[in-house]
């Protein structure tokens, strides 16, 4: 029981760190890492709870990892493309689609 609580607490801490990072940081790469952090926080919660809630949680983790991998590939490609265009990965500079 104690282990579960520790695992969930760790998951929560990791998730909040990720959220805080997305809110305060401006570097696109860092944002990306924070998103990964949140995803993995969720993964940790899934795995920790799977003995009580069933095997589906563990299955779902694989889906999350797969989607995260694809997302990383596409996202990093976009960031590289943006960097080539603007010589920067600071998201403060990218607000062209605003009214």
């Amino acid at each position: 029981m104690l282990t579960l609580n520790i695992a969930l607490a760790l998951s929560a801490i990791l998730f909040v760190i990720g959220v805080a990072g997305v809110i305060v940081r401006r570097n696109a790469i860092i944002l990306f890492m924070c998103i990964e952090l949140m995803l993995n926080a969720v993964n940790l919660a899934f795995v920790a709870l799977s003995p009580y809630a069933g095997i589906q949680g563990q299955v779902f983790v694989f889906f999350v990892i797969a989607v995260a991998a694809a997302e990383a590939a596409v996202g990093l490609a976009i960031i590289i493309s943006v960097f080539r265009h603007a010589e920067s990965v600071d998201i403060k500079n990218f607000s062209l689609l605003r009214w």
Binding site: V19, V22, I23, R25, L31, I91, K92, F94, S95, R98
Partner: protein
């Protein structure tokens, strides 16, 4: 006339079997569709700048008079069937349920009775002749197929008006003929004056239509039905004799009739309606449509019999109109304007007749007027046609309708002259021409009422006794009849007698019109002579001398229309059982003849067509009465100042204040408000990912919080 018929047998049974009554109505509509298609094709050809397909100009010449001829033949066949059958109550032919709206149940149904079949005969018969005339008169016009389409459509609506078996159906025809009148007055709409005249007719008629609608609604609120049969059966039971409700209904009906039939104060549109082609003036603005108000009063005779003070109002309005319009006609130079005011005046005679309860006299005058006025208008059309050709030959811009430019035309248009002369003698009331018998009956009804033998003699209106009013009506109508004879004599003198003033070069181009125009003229001229013979009353002194001429037996029209008037007669018999027998005095008839002869003689003796100059040479009237009459008592100007001016000022006020600041302000304000709100909302869209993420998280927290607590 006032003798109640005993209903034979316990259960009245109609043995009358109509022949295709629906087809009479439908045929002109078919003609409208065919001519309408031809018109559209012609317009398409013109807009593509290629030669107009010749069939579009030829087809209407056959279709338009053709459908009218077939409809007329059908009407005649139905007339003879009805004459040979027993008809105890109006025959109603149901087609389908038209307005099943709760308590209001209106069927598309035609009512065949002596009145409606008589009107159908006049409409299809005179209409057919005018369609034939139009072929000659309008064939060269580029809008010829459109003209014929409108004319057919008009006849369709007019037939719906007279044959419809309920007030709403009558109203459909009522509005339809108004529409066609508008379309045909503004037929040459490229000229602004014509388009304005059309609008004027339409708008003035709307005022009348308001009255008709009000009357219908009050009727429905009290009776719960609008079908003629049910309304006239229940009205004497529901409404008290001379009660306020029935009086209100009849006054509203009078307003409606005054609009359509050009009575004071709504007559102003009719003289302007002469902007349309002349055959239109003959058919719509003289023979048929304008008599719709008279027809409506006769159709609602049961209601008017219940409201004697409203009836007397009808008679007084008609009398005033008759005199008023006749004075204006005395001084007009435009040949069509003379006839237009003459029409208003004659409609006044009809109103006076039906108002006084002399329904047969009213319908009789309606019929003879349809003959002689259509003849006069078509004659005027022929004159204008000839004048146009003459003036066109030298490219003269002189007015083809101004009588000062005519003169001596009887040598160039002999057939037209004789037809118009017959019609003039008819309208002047010279025996034995048609108008003598009908006009004499109208004025005779006034003298009878003055003698106390009319249901209106006992009524008091504005503190004056009915019989006094009737004396007034008799005197005024006699004055109007004198003026009628005078201005008609004046018109004939200036148009057909004296030297010709058209001009040397133009004179050789003045020719009699073609056969398609001559035949209707001859037919209507003949009808102007014999039309009155269907109602020669052998009980009236002097008139009885003409009994050998009677067509269809003595007083045939009285007998024919009697079944229609059983309702009002029953109302009068129930409420005024001690009415004295009407007595026709010989002096009244002699007076009528003397007036007609005197009017024509005065014109002949005092007017000198030899001394008249052309429109350019002859100055307009300079003396005060002449100016006053020539300018139509300045009624248009007074209406302009008193009604239209303030109304337009009000409209301008509304447009510049209410519309511009309040309505536009509301609309623009709504737009501005949304724009501002958008701006405000746009501020949240910073383009900064962090902000968005923060708001997202806040949102998630709010949702989670909501779940938690």
């Amino acid at each position: 006339m006032l003798v109640l018929q005993e209903v034979a047998g316990a259960v009245p049974h109609n043995s009358f079997e109509p022949i295709l009554p629906g087809l009479i109505v439908l045929l002109p509509l078919i003609g409208f569709v065919i001519n309408g298609i031809a018109s559209l094709v012609a317009v398409r050809d013109t807009s593509r700048e290629r030669a107009v397909s010749p069939w579009t100009q030829r087809l209407p010449s056959i279709v338009a008079p053709g459908v009218m001829l077939v409809a007329f033949i059908l009407a005649v066949m139905n007339f003879f069937r009805m004459a040979g059958a027993e008809l105890h109550e109006p025959l109603v032919v149901h087609y389908w349920s038209w307005l099943p709206a709760g308590d209001l149940q209106v069927d598309a149904a035609l009512q065949l009775d002596p009145l409606s079949i008589l009107m159908t005969l006049i409409i299809t018969g005179v209409g057919m002749l005018i369609h034939v005339f139009s072929v000659g008169y309008m064939r060269a016009d580029p809008g010829y197929p459109r003209y014929m389409a409108y004319l057919n459509l008009f006849v369709f609506f007019m037939l719906v008006l007279v044959l419809g078996a309920s007030f709403p159906l009558m109203f459909v025809g009522w509005e339809g003929v108004g529409l066609c009148s508008y379309l045909l007055i503004g037929f040459w709409f490229a000229d602004r004056a014509n388009a304005d005249a059309g609008k004027k007719a339409f708008i003035v008629n709307r005022i009348g239509d308001f009255g008709f609608l009000m009357a219908m609604m009050i009727l429905f609120a009290n009776l719960g039905t609008l079908t003629f049969g049910a309304v006239f059966a229940e009205a004497p039971v529901v409404f008290a004799y001379s009660g306020p409700v029935i009086t209100a209904i009849c006054l509203f009906l009078l307003l409606g009739a005054a609009g359509k039939s050009a009575q004071i104060p709504l007559y102003v549109w009719l003289p302007d309606a002469m902007a349309g082609p002349t055959p239109v003036s003959a058919l719509i603005h003289a023979a048929t449509m304008v008599t719709a108000g008279v027809y409506m009063v006769v159709r609602s005779a049961t209601l008017f019999a219940l409201a004697p003070s409203a009836s007397l109002t009808v008679a007084i309005v008609g009398t005033l109109t008759a005199v008023f319009a006749a004075t204006i006609a005395l001084k007009q130079w435009d040949i069509k304007k003379v006839l237009a005011y003459s029409t208003v005046s004659q409609l006044g005679f009809m109103f006076a007749a039906v108002g006084m309860g002399a329904y047969v006299a009213g319908v009789f005058h309606l019929m003879t007027h349809a003959f002689f006025k259509a003849c006069l208008f078509l004659g005027a059309g022929a004159v204008i046609h000839a004048m146009h050709e003459g003036l066109h030959a030298t490219h003269s811009h002189a007015d083809a309708q101004d009588m000062r430019n005519m003169g001596g035309l009887r040598r160039y248009l002999p057939v037209t002259f004789f037809a118009m002369a017959a019609a003039t003698l008819a309208i002047a009331g010279i025996p034995p021409f048609a108008g003598f018998f009908s006009k004499d009956e109208v004025i005779g009804a006034a003298w009878i009422g003055a003698g106390g033998a009319s249901p209106l003699s006992e009524v008091t209106l504005l503190g004056i006794a009915g019989s006094t009013w009737m004396t007034f009506i008799g005197v005024m109508l006699s004055a109007a009849a004198f003026m009628t004879a005078f201005y008609m004599g004046r018109m004939m003198l200036y148009t057909f007698f004296g030297p010709n003033r058209t001009g040397e070069a133009e004179r050789s181009h003045l020719h009699e019109v073609g056969w398609s125009m001559k035949i209707p003229l001859i037919a209507l001229g003949l009808l102007s002579v014999i039309g009155g013979w269907i109602n020669i009353d052998p009980h009236v002194p002097i008139v009885e001398w003409f009994t050998p001429l009677a067509i269809g037996g003595p007083a045939a029209l009285h007998d024919w229309l009697h079944p229609v008037l059983v309702g009002p007669e029953a109302v009068i018999a129930a409420n005024l059982p001690n009415l004295p027998e009407p007595h026709h005095a010989a002096w009244g008839i002699l007076l009528a003849i003397a007036i007609g002869v005197a009017g024509l003689l005065t014109a002949w003796l005092f007017l000198k067509p030899d001394r008249l100059g052309t429109a350019e040479a002859e100055p307009n009237y300079t003396d005060t009465p002449g100016r006053l009459l020539y300018n139509k008592w300045y009624v248009d100007e007074i209406y302009g100042k008193v009604i239209i001016g303030p109304f337009q000022a009000l409209s301008r006020g509304f447009s510049s204040i209410v519309d511009r600041w309040i309505v536009d302000g509301l609309v623009d304000g709504a737009g501005r408000l949304m724009h501002g709100l958008g701006r405000l909302g746009g501020l949240t869209q910073t383009g900064q990912l962090n902000t968005y993420a923060f708001i997202l998280v806040l949102g998630v927290l709010v949702v989670l919080g909501a779940f938690a607590f």
